[in-house]
């Protein structure tokens, strides 16, 4: 096994015989593994139940806001459409008719 392969697979290979044999003859990779283990001393956190509930509450709040935004968008579109329909309610406009048919006052 080459060092390059050993280092890319350092976690997966930990129990691998070939990797173990490589470690015995390679001080560089032993150092690599030692560093990898040392980094493990930076312990992790365990998320508490309170944290999980806070995240879920925030997501629900976002969901409620999104629903309200959707309703507002829909209402906004309705108003735009009703405004557009108003424009056509006096169709054809007087001026349009005058152009097409001429002004007939007699």
């Amino acid at each position: 096994m080459e060092c390059k392969k050993a280092r890319t697979m350092i976690e997966a290979c930990r129990k691998d015989r070939e990797f173990a044999a490589h470690l015995e003859v390679c001080a560089d990779c032993r150092g690599e593994l030692a560093l990898w283990d040392l980094l493990g001393e930076a312990q992790g956190l365990e998320p508490g139940l309170e944290f999980t509930e806070r995240v879920l509450e925030k997501v629900k709040e976002e969901g409620r806001q999104t629903s309200w935004r959707d309703i507002k968008d829909m209402l906004g579109r309705c108003f735009i459409w009703s405004g557009t329909l108003d424009e056509f309610s006096d169709f054809p406009p007087d001026s349009f008719g005058a152009v097409l048919f001429g002004s007939r006052r007699d």
């Binding site: 690599e32 980094l39 493990g40 629900k60």
Partner: protein
């Protein structure tokens, strides 16, 4: 909507399809599945528990918002960590990350052992924190999040060779910073 227990067997991709339909049990399952990984990614990146919690929450909000547009083109984990990467690299720049002491303690240690362990842990955390952003993120994804080199490259939107380079430089710096602890 069923109980969250029913959701435990579902894949992340199936949960995302349910979340797109605003199923909160699916959200709860996804959060419980990935919160630890994300929280620790941010904690190791920022060395600040409260900030890590806020950032984790931010990622889940983004997941929820983008669920209707989600397409399972790559591994869900890669997609999720890519969001986290964007939060780390783009949005944390403006924030000044203050140094915090580690908060976790092991109950079974004697006070002296505990002090030695805590000191070592602070040193390791500080050494990680001193790394440039991309080196730090690549190292955390590989060492702590269990991502392969290829997955790390996908998350960071770069090549596997680039990740190898980032890791090599990160490890060289760490080796030098932590030389006395390795003896």
């Amino acid at each position: 909507m069923g109980s969250t227990l029913e959701y435990n067997d579902k894949s992340d991709e199936e949960l995302m399809a349910l979340i797109a339909r605003r199923d909160y049990n699916a959200v709860a399952t996804l959060v419980s599945r990935h919160q630890r990984g994300l929280l620790n990614l941010f904690y190791r990146y920022t060395n600040d528990r409260l900030l890590a919690e806020d950032l984790t929450q931010e990622v889940f909000l983004r997941v929820y918002k983008s669920a209707p547009l989600y397409e399972a083109r790559s591994l869900f984990k890669v997609w999720l960590y890519r969001i986290a990467k964007n939060v780390c690299l783009n949005e944390l720049k403006a924030l000044r990350i203050l140094e915090k002491l580690p908060e976790q303690k092991t109950e079974t240690e004697s006070p002296q052992e505990e002090m030695i362990r805590a000191e070592r842990e602070i040193r390791v955390r500080q050494a990680i924190e001193m790394l440039p952003e991309r080196q730090r993120l690549a190292l955390i994804l590989r060492r702590f999040q269990g991502l392969s080199q290829e997955e790390t490259a996908e998350v960071m939107e770069t090549t596997s060779e680039a990740i190898e380079g980032l890791l090599a430089r990160a490890k060289a710096k760490l080796r030098s910073a932590l030389a006395d602890l390795q003896q």
